[in-house]
Amino acid sequence: MNGWLAGKCVAIEGDSPAIVSAFEAAGATLVEDEADIWVHVAPPTATKPAHELTHTEWRASMDAGLDRRFLGAKDFAASCRARGQGGAVLFVGAPEQALGADQAAAAGALGNLTKTLGVEWARDGIRVNSILTHETGDTLGYIAAYIASDYAAYVTGAVMGITLDD
């Protein structure tokens, strides 16, 4: 991985052992704040038919899959601007149609949010991308590390999957 993230500080919110190990292997330092890269991994939601979802469950999915991601990215971007530095945001989660209607809504919203923030913050040097996938293993970690690195400096506002049914 040729030191893709050497010298970079990364804050990872959410649970993905593959991403943590790939980022460490790529030379990144894991930090809580003042990061160069912010990764948010949303937990998978329960798969239920829409008419069986309570509003509380629906709201919890929107909060984790959309609202927290926007607010976290907003804070991260503000921190980058305050330091006069660019940065990279990476959202990771399940594909739009993989789980329930709550996921479909949250992931669709997130995809277009990704495209929006990628352009809105482009001249702050802040790139914003999403990986929406069923994959949880090594390839997820490596692609996440690559997209977060300067090797992907020309990738922003991109929403990608990994496996066939993503």
Binding site: W4, G118, R123, G125, Y146, D150, Y151, T163
Partner: protein, 293 residues
Amino acid sequence: MPVPAHHIVATPPPFDAPPYPVDIFAGHTVLVTGGGSGMGLAMAKAFAQGGANVVVMGRSIERAQEGAAEIAKLGVRTHAMSGDVRLPEAVAAAFDEAEEALGPIDLLANNAGANFPVLAEDISPNAWNAVTRIAIDGTFLCSTEYARRRIRAGKGGAIVNNSAQYVWTGFPGDAHSAAAKTAQATMTKKLAADWAPHGIRVNAIAAGFFPHASSTAGNREGGTEPLQNMIPAGRTGSIWEFGWLSAMTCTPIFGAMTGQVIVQDGGESLRRSLMMPDYVPPRERADGPWGWK
């Protein structure tokens, strides 16, 4: 207008710092269609930086040879040949020649394409056929020839297609390429599904503007400098970062990735505001940045 000095522009590592080890493709041969110049040459060089031997196939043998000579400077074996990707017999013969020269083709990069801005009403049947069939039939014929050989040999593999940033938006003033490049992107997903059981991965890069010697806008008066501020990222792409991402999709590092179309365009294809600049029909903007006069 130049990019204002207070804007921050993200830039990639330099060409001589590729993202993978120098031997990641060692012992493998890649066939790059249209690999003699432009984006195909960038793909070919990226594979060579990972140690792959490279077959350059092009319509012009001279250009293929020039490209191969540049690639060889990176320390790999090369073979240049001419061939027409629109003809199944020519494609089969090209694979035979390539395999005789450098051994089995382990990886395939479908880059061959033609493109020139033109009003839709001025596209002749010949021009339509040339642009669409090189990209659509060419990608199909080269990919299927490759896959049949890999399946017969009981080996997996990887294909990368050079698609374009305008595949989801249309491209007024370039109707033939708009159709052709989207066909490449959508067939990517289905070819990946068809060949997943055989361990052959298929991905595409939907590339933005990576200026090179033969790109239309790169030849404008004043070069590409005036174009930097038109792109959200604040710059046109560096052609080697396109080559790297293309080659990356074929590495075992991205071994589970297939059926994907990755947009690499500095945000260029995305909307910038609710209201856009004044609409000008293509025939009334011949002198614009993608004009043709």
